[in-house]
Symmetry: C2
Subunit: 152 residues, 2 copies
């Protein structure tokens, strides 16, 4: 599945509308805004990551979700390395402009651990528990470390 | 509805389990962790806010979601003023420990604008659009400004 992304059907909105949304975002002191990714049809919350202005603009223009990696200090085109692309369905902004909600169609898995989503730890039966198993081998997502692949 | 919260059926997990979860959270330099609130049965993403260690501990102990207000620099017991309580169903932690997902039962509305959720702006028909209407009058949530009620 990771080698055959679904056909892109995303039609980018008019540039003026994209600029209006960008103007409504309240980026923090580091120039970032939080973005929650949610599977558009099931409602599953997949992950939370950060975007800078360029990442929001690219996401809206291309329909492929692009974050900003705080650790790598650069754009993080989700799935570029792993093949686990996020196709954008709709990008929503919250009341005070400091959080985005990206409704997406997630190919494969969202989490770098190979799990469908990142929120797999919770208290069950009075113990902190892993509540979801990996669906894919992380090594298959990113290759062996010596190949020098970064996360993504 | 706001005057008659549903009966609390929350049973706090053992203290040791709560402490294990707290120890797994990677609070940021300001001592905060992002928390996404999701309606547990419909999957609706309601809001995103911040918690400090005390807020996480109180949420787990009481089953009523408590955030940290960065503007008021204090605990923000969701619904304390507005009556729009969030009853905790489960608190989940993500892979790298810097984001929580709170599955909740939201009484009434989550957004201070009177909307069910905060993510009501999106691009539709090439224009930045308000995609949801308020279900309640914000003045009814917080009273008139001269009464001195704060948000919550």
């Amino acid at each position: 599945m990771t080698d055959t992304p679904s056909p892109l059907t995303y039609a980018p909105p008019a540039l003026a509308a994209r600029e209006d949304l960008l103007a409504a975002v309240r980026f923090d002191a580091a120039g970032l805004v939080a973005c929650i990714a949610q599977q558009h049809d099931t409602g599953e919350v997949l992950m939370m990551a950060w975007m800078n202005r360029e990442a929001v603009a690219e996401t809206l223009a291309t329909g492929r979700v692009c974050y900003y990696s705080r650790s790598r200090k650069g754009l993080w085109r989700k799935g570029e390395t792993s093949g686990q692309l996020q196709h954008l369905v709709e990008l929503r902004l919250d009341c005070d402009g400091d959080t985005l909600l990206a409704l997406v169609d997630q190919l494969g898995v969202a989490c770098h651990t190979g799990r469908r989503n990142c929120f797999y730890r919770a208290i069950r039966d009075d113990a902190l528990t892993t509540i979801a198993d990996p669906l894919m081998d992380p090594a298959a997502l990113y290759g062996d470390a010596h190949k020098g692949h970064s996360h993504g």
